[in-house]
């Protein structure tokens, strides 16, 4: 037992199960059910981290999700998770936790020098990041970046691959209730009793919310905590209810879509619930506000409610001598609880002139000094709170009279409570300012989330709805649950609210800023945002510099932009801004809350979609052979294609050159299975393809192929491929590898939406057929022995089709060529692909056949001046630009893109058009994408073209390139300049884009 662990009590801990863990390498003992924060406080430790900018010593402020200071890195190695709130992490045997933002140690930190600098020159004052952008880049490199890197940054990223499992779970609910405090339990019970399917998500380990910590609330004649336990048990026993704990409502989205982030006790590390709910009840309670006085960030300064939580839930006394500083009655509960726990309550400092409510009276009756009309002007201490300076508060809010020092190790502060409206705001819920309670609360009459049917589908209940009293909150929640169920047709019986008693509350008095005297009079040590180290002075500076909108001031000061998203700072910050602008708070407005409610682990978001499941890989039937034979893989869409097949000791370049030579000199074989294959059938198929392709397809004779181009309605080329008219009259349209699904979708779109009267059916057969290209002068003699089909030029001419068997496998032969050589593309059923590949390989072994990859394919086609979609095209290039006018029909009345190509600028003579480029230094390759300019010496050179493809051609023994150049075809023989990096200029001669076999003699054999 430590001095800070109370001898009895602690609703959440199991004293029979001690747990030992390590903090900053040293062993710490706690009990099962302790959070890191509770166990560390119990061990007497109040210093838990250093602040982000100034590295000021910080302790725990809260007991729940709103904790801004006590961020820790939990776990080791690949399991290390930074920025975990110590208030939310339950300790486990062997767990290791480290504090953050300090070097070399938490107790002695070099970075705290930033704070010292800041007091001389405002290095990190409001707008620091923006102002320093005005400095020259050199200052960033040598001055600001090193300073920021050294001092800033939250926890370190884990090293290695996360070994934990994360899962996604899709769920459906009639009513989703977020929060299982009093309101959530009541709303869920009402909806569930009516028969609705209910999911309840509670972020803490146990249902009950603040009822667990408040000893003076009775519901239905029993202590609030007991009532909550009974309700939770009743809900858990209902077959139509799923009650989740350790599960935050992370975000609300359109049409009743919600994300719940669960950290289950067993199973995966995290489970992300993707819920579609017909109705949602938000019962997320309220968050207590800190008070802004000098040094309000010292370890030992805590929220009053949190001090009660530590006493009641974990039997932990955060200190032995307590001062309470408040503007409301509720905080007196802390004084009473501390007194009851045997701690010394030195005083309650209440800024109100009078405090005559039931709780202040109870405090007085307990012998506690109640000092009204007073404020805490300053907290004193080094790494821990030692005392507070209190003073009378004048009518104008200033400090009046002498300062009095009160020794204490805990200051419990309360500025009132703000409804946790975050989730309501996520999906468009509007708020209004409640002057009496000094809070923004939901205003569904101004706007509330709606479902697909336009009906309001989200209600807020209890404290989250601005109803802080137990009786009102309970009635509100029961009504919300019943309303949610009855909206859906369930006959909700209007359950009578159980009796609820608690001490009556008198009004609070808003207190946004406590002036101090002396050095910190101007709020430079009055922290509003603890996590981002934003002070009241920063917000006032922002106002003076013209950042009058809260959205601007937020970004300028970074108020509320840390991982806690301003849960504690939001209202205090905008009240400070309103005060600086002398404007009412509702006029200043609030910032918009966005998901998630608290940080989501990236693992949660990814779920199982990691590693090999991140994106499926498409494999051809020959994939394994490629893998076993040295394939350098290249991703093409979801496919993997061999870039080249390297032999032992061979460079990539040498391998590609060898493959190119094999095709030109003997034969090569290419796995072309990834090409898109769309079967277009039906009586109107020809008419339809005439509309889709720029050239005429309806005139194609069965048994023949034609190269076709597709444009979009803007007239730009987006896909190409060979269209084969099968012997039975059907059309088989080949597309690019990456374009198969896109072109299929394109065809469906036009058929379904523009020309539904056409009788056409399209099927994507890409994966049904394997396809092997056999190219090279020896292609025929290799293939002929494998088949009974006559492969002679007369029987199967260029662009012809044959059907039959090859090596006993049913095949379809297309005599088409993308290399300029004698070439056959052989299609077979996919499951016979590997057998066909092996048969051809074996048949050609004697003639020197070699497999070739995509890079050789590219070199071969570039040598022939064939364009490649995505290289020569980029969505702004027309067929005419590429010298493909021969493939654009002049006869057809219409095709997609025809009208656009009539626009004057698409036939403008200054357009960039396709040319070949030969570098003046034959061994030197132009870089892909290099720009050609008119005069490289000009100050702002005029761009006249660019390189679209560039290779070293093994066939020609020189570098070749294709490019788009203004008036290109009119400039044959002209030498143009390509300025490169560091002043280098390459020169190339404009030539015909067909570099090799211009007559096409090699394929006409």
């Amino acid at each position: 037992m430590t001095a800070h662990r109370l001898p009895s009590g602690g609703l959440l801990i199991d004293r029979a199960r001690p747990v030992e863990f390590r903090f900053n390498g040293k062993p710490v003992k706690g009990f099962a059910g302790d959070t890191l924060a509770a166990a560390l406080l119990a061990s007497g430790r109040t210093l838990m981290g250093r602040s982000f900018k100034y590295h000021r010593p910080r302790g725990v402020v809260a007991a729940g999700v709103e904790e801004p200071n006590a961020l820790m890195c939990v776990g080791e190695g690949p399991r290390a998770t930074p920025n975990q709130r110590a208030t939310m992490v339950e300790i486990a045997p062997g767990m290791s936790a480290r504090s953050q933002n300090h070097w070399p140690s938490l107790e002695w930190d070099v970075g705290a020098v930033n704070a010292a600098i800041a007091s001389v020159a405002p290095v990190f004052s409001a707008g620091f990041y923006y102002k320093t952008f005005l400095f020259p880049r050199i200052a960033w490199k040598h001055l600001y970046e090193p300073v920021i890197r050294q001092s800033a940054g939250l926890g370190p990223a884990p090293e290695g691959v996360d070994p934990d499992e994360y899962e996604h779970l899709h769920a459906f609910a009639d009513v989703l209730v977020i929060g299982a405090g009093m309101a959530g339990l009541a709303a869920a019970r009402a909806a569930a009793e009516a028969g609705a399917r209910v999911i309840v998500a509670e972020q803490g380990p146990r249902a009950g919310g603040r009822l667990l910590s408040e000893s003076d609330i009775e519901i239905g004649g029993m202590p609030g905590a007991d009532w909550a336990a009974g309700e939770a048990a009743a809900l858990a026993a209902m077959p139509n209810v799923t009650l989740l704990t350790r599960c935050q409502g992370a975000g609300l989205y359109d049409h009743g879509y919600a994300l719940l982030d669960e950290e289950p006790k067993e199973g995966p590390s995290r489970r992300l619930w993707r819920v579609r709910a017909k109705r949602i009840v938000i019962a997320t309670g309220a968050i207590e506000r800190p008070l802004a006085f000098a040094n309000n960030d010292l370890p030992g300064v805590m929220l009053a409610g949190a001090v009660r939580d530590y006493l009641a839930l974990w039997a932990v006394a955060p200190g032995r001598e307590i001062v309470v500083f408040a503007n409301n009655d509720d905080a007196y509960r802390t004084a009473l609880a501390a007194h009851l726990a045997g701690l010394t309550v030195k005083a309650v400092i209440d800024c109100r002139a009078e405090a005559a409510g039931a709780l202040p009276e109870a405090a007085r009756a307990a012998g506690i000094a109640v000092r009204t009309g007073m404020i805490v002007a300053k907290a004193k201490g080094g790494k821990a709170l030692k005392s507070v300076l209190v003073a009378k508060r004048a009518a104008d809010g200033r400090v009046a009279g002498a300062l009095e020092e009160i020794g204490c190790d805990v200051l419990a502060m309360s500025g009132g409570w703000s409804p946790a409206v975050h989730l309501f705001s996520h999906c468009g819920g509007k708020l209004r300012w409640d002057e009496a309670q000094a809070m923004f609360r939901p205003a569904p009459e101004r706007g509330a989330p709606t479902g697909a049917d336009g009906e309001v589908n989200t209600f807020v209940a209890g404290a989250a709805n601005g109803l802080l009293s137990t009786a009102e909150g309970l009635a509100d929640a029961l009504a919300a649950g019943a309303r949610a169920a009855s909206d859906l047709g369930f006959s909700a019986v209007a359950a009578e609210a159980p009796s609820a008693t608690e001490p009556g509350m008198t009004p609070l008095q808003p207190l946004w800023f406590t002036p101090s005297v002396g050095k910190y009079a101007h709020g430079t040590k009055h922290f509003l945002d603890f996590q981002n180290d934003v002070t009241a002075a920063d917000v006032e500076l922002a106002a003076r510099e013209g950042y009058e909108s809260i959205e601007h001031a937020k970004r300028y000061t970074t108020l509320g932009m840390a991982t806690d998203q301003g849960k504690l700072s939001n209202i205090n910050g905008l009240a400070t801004l309103a005060n600086a602008l002398a404007a009412p708070i509702p006029e200043v407005g609030t910032t918009t809350f966005r998901p998630p409610w608290t940080p989501l682990s990236l693992g949660s978001i990814a779920g199982r979609d990691a590693g090999t499941l991140f994106k499926p890989v498409r494999r051809t039937p020959m994939h394994d052979w490629h893998e076993a034979n040295g394939a350098d893989w290249e991703p093409v869409g979801e496919w993997r294609r061999p870039f080249t097949y390297r032999r032992a000791g061979e460079s990539r370049e040498a391998s590609v050159a060898r493959e190119v030579r094999a095709v030109r000199e003997a034969a090569g074989m290419l796995d072309a299975s990834t090409l898109g294959k769309l079967l277009v059938t039906g009586p109107d198929a020809g008419r339809f393809l005439d509309l889709l392709y720029t050239n005429m397809m309806s005139t194609l004779k069965p048994g023949a192929c034609r190269y076709g181009l597709m444009c979009n309605e803007n007239g730009f080329l987006f896909d190409d491929g060979v269209v084969a008219r099968l012997p039975n009259g059907d059309f088989l349209c080949h597309t690019t590898t990456g374009g198969a699904e896109r072109v299929h979708g394109w065809m469906e779109e036009w058929l379904q939406t523009e020309w539904p009267e056409l009788k056409v059916h399209v099927a994507n057969l890409t994966e049904q057929f394997t396809q092997i290209a056999v190219a090279g002068p020896k292609a025929r003699e290799i293939l002929q022995p494998l088949t009974g089909m006559d492969l002679s030029a007369s029987a199967l001419p260029f662009m012809g089709i044959a059907e039959g068997e090859m090596a006993g496998i049913p095949v379809r032969l297309f005599r088409i060529s993308f290399s300029g050589e004698l070439s056959y593309e052989i299609a077979a059923p996919a499951h016979r692909g590997r057998a066909l590949w092996d048969a051809i390989r074996e048949a050609g072994a004697g003639q020197g056949i070699q497999p070739y990859g995509t890079e050789a394919l590219h070199v071969l086609r570039a040598e022939k001046g064939f364009i490649m979609i995505g290289d020569e095209t980029d969505g702004t290039v027309t067929p005419q630009d590429l010298g493909l006018s021969w493939a654009v029909s002049k006869k057809k009345a219409d095709f997609i893109g025809k009208r656009a190509q009539e626009r004057p600028f698409l036939s403008h003579p200054e357009r960039e058009r396709l040319v070949g480029l030969e570098t003046l230094e034959p061994g030197k390759r132009l870089p892909d994408g290099a720009y050609a300019v008119a005069d490289p010496a000009a100050k702002t050179p005029e761009v006249i073209g660019r390189v679209t493809s560039s290779y070293l051609s093994p066939t020609l023994g020189r570098a070749i390139a294709l490019g788009l150049v203004k008036r290109g075809p009119e400039r044959m023989g002209e030498v143009i300049s390509f300025p490169l990096e560091k002043g280098e200029v390459m020169q190339a001669r404009i030539v015909d884009p067909v570099f090799y076999d211009k007559e096409g003699a090699r394929q006409n054999v």
Binding site: G256, G454, E713, E749, R899
Partner: protein
């Protein structure tokens, strides 16, 4: 994330199951059309704040294109109808009118 019901197969699915296709009921202008007509077809869109008639495809479902009447502010879906309809059905127009947004 929107919840959309496909009028072709009847399935209600997540927005991610569908692919958006922009404004509905555009009239295609092809060869021979005036520059203004063609520009209107190709480029000009209503982009309203409020009820909007738009094209969607049940991309990861039945594959069919269809039309949706949707409020771009409240995200209310007034109804869905077949791609072959050249104008919104009266019942959907009535529903929009009932919201005071005709």
């Amino acid at each position: 994330m929107l919840l959309i019901t496909c009028p072709c197969c009847g399935v209600s699915g997540e927005e991610t199951e569908f692919a958006p296709g922009g404004e509905a009921h555009l009239k295609r202008f092809g060869p021979g059309s005036e520059e203004g007509e063609f520009a209107g077809y190709l480029f000009y869109r209503k982009n309203p704040k409020g009820p909007h008639f738009e094209r969607w495809r049940h991309a990861y479902g039945c594959g069919k294109w269809f039309h949706v009447a949707r409020d771009t502010v409240t995200l209310e879906i007034f109804g869905a109808y077949k791609a072959t309809e050249t104008a919104p059905p009266q019942e959907i127009l009535d529903r929009i009118a009932a919201r005071g947004k005709a």
